[in-house]
């Protein structure tokens, strides 16, 4: 299977700290990749670079075979790389429909980049997007702060699906969620594969990602210390790597 993202020799320094050391990584299309590592292992740095939030000091990124350089998250999003942060991806006071279309509103009577929102279309499409990820909520006008943690992740995933993302980067999507809600999120992510979406699932909780991952990548101290297909490894082996580096 072809690789959708290839990283070569990525390095990143934060005021003298070598946060990412010569990292190379290949991510296969339509797979779920588990990116695991303890706090400070460099996971966040890597995803910030992949999502365009930060730029690497050296190294290259290839997306669908083309060399890319993201100057902003918007550029990465335009290519189809969408990042979902733990809690910060939704505006609590805003409605589900408005949240789904933040920054990508459907507008009419446009003047340049500005226009009036097609509220009805946005509401209908929001409901459809939610149904597509098997999330059944009452109304697209419900403010997000009235949803449970798992439902919120569902909304974020629905949003990424609606905008035809090719790669979904999920940063600790199951943090602070109850077991029931965690399972809900894992089901959402598992469903992505069949819809042609590659996901990178970042977590420090191996037991969350192991059941749904095809491939696992372990990081420690800014380096990649293991990069394995699930069939070539076991949960015990990975635990050992995580604990002992």
């Amino acid at each position: 299977m072809e690789d959708i993202i290839v990283c070569e020799g990525l390095n990143k320094y934060y005021s003298g700290v070598h946060a990412l050391k010569d990292l190379s990584l290949k991510i296969k299309k339509d797979s779920v990749v588990g990116l695991i590592g303890d706090n400070g292992a460099g996971k966040s740095t890597l995803i910030k670079i992949l999502s365009g939030a930060h730029q690497p000091d050296s190294g290259h990124i290839y997306f669908e075979g083309n060399k890319v350089k993201f100057k902003s998250t918007k550029e990465a999003m335009n290519l189809g790389i969408e990042t979902i942060y733990q809690y910060s991806a939704l505006i609590p006071e805003m409605s589900i429909a408005r949240n789904i279309f933040i920054g990508r509103e459907q507008t009419q009577y446009n003047v340049g980049n500005f226009g009036l929102m097609k509220t009805k279309t946005m509401q209908d499409d929001a409901m459809k997007a939610l149904t597509d990820v098997e999330l059944h909520l009452r109304s697209p006008d419900t403010p997000v702060n009235q949803l449970s943690g798992g439902e919120r992740q569902g909304v974020v995933i629905a949003r990424a699906m609606y905008f035809k993302s090719k790669v979904l980067i999920l940063d600790e999507p199951t943090n602070h969620l109850s077991v029931k809600e965690t399972n809900k999120v894992l089901r959402f992510v598992e469903g992505l594969k069949s819809q042609g979406v590659t996901s990178i699932f970042i977590t420090h909780n191996l037991s969350h990602v192991y059941p749904i991952a095809d491939h696992l990548c372990v990081m420690a101290r800014g380096e990649k210390i293991a990069d394995l297909d699930k069939k070539d490894t076991t949960i015990d082996h990975l635990t050992d790597l995580l604990v002992n580096g």
């Binding site: 939030a53 939704l90 505006i91 805003m94 929102m117």
Partner: protein
Amino acid sequence: MSKNFSLRSLLVRPEVATFLMFLAIMIGFYIANERFLDSRNIRIVMGITPEYIIVAIGIAILMISGEFDLSVGSVFALVPMTIVQMVHQGIPPWFAIFLGLMIGIIVGFVNGFITLRFGIPSFIATLGMLYIARSLTTVATAGFPPPFPHILPNELFVYQFELFRASLYWALLVAVVLGVMLHRSNVGNWIYATGGDQNAASSMGIKTGNVKMFCFILCGFLAGFAGMIQTFRLEAPLPSQGYLLELESIAAAVIGGVSLFGGIGTVFGAVIGAILIRFLESGIIMARIDAEWFRAGLGSLIIIAVVFNTYISRRATRIGQNKAKD
């Protein structure tokens, strides 16, 4: 059932609560003195209110984006003072108005630039601007308030019709245009997102700095425009004009349901808030209560409004979460 819920969700909207509070105050003062609601009093109150409405809308939108502007009272004085002085210097009236309004825009830009570039609280940046702009106004009067040049087209902005002044229609125009912008346009969505959670908004590709800058500039422009209307109405440019207006307009916004933390509020709420304050002031006088009680009344109103809104929004969240479990 669903009808029941929509009534409930209407009642928990903060600006609706403000509107009910407004009705209660109007009825209360009407009982105290029937002449409170006769056309003469309404003409007086609505003659001065539009200026406050315009400033309150600017403040409300800026607060929704998550920032403050304490300099509006000073800009409210600086802009008309410069317009008048420029006309005295021989600059054509319309060009002087244009340049004067540009000053409001520039002050807004400087407020935004200092806040965003240096990452300091807008509270501080605009507090500095409050003093600077007031000082400039006093300097511009050159020691003595200049006479009002009657070649200025002030009738266009403040002409007294039967009941209302032209300024009320200007204020309504501002309210409708900016209401549509805030509630119906994509820019409005960005403003709510920026004030609601700046990190989330920028991770969705919104240029939050630009959004805030736009709101700062809009606020400065509206403060200057409103100040110009007041000077045109009084036909006297006073360096003390707009004194304490910054706090009163924040009060109007807050009473109208705008959150101090950003992300929540409506244009309608700010309009009602501004009208409420002016009628409160008038009502206290009409009820033959010592006018000094106005500030106490306003203070109580602010506290009641915020406590009430906090209570209501917590309750609304709880209703929603219980519903979600059903």
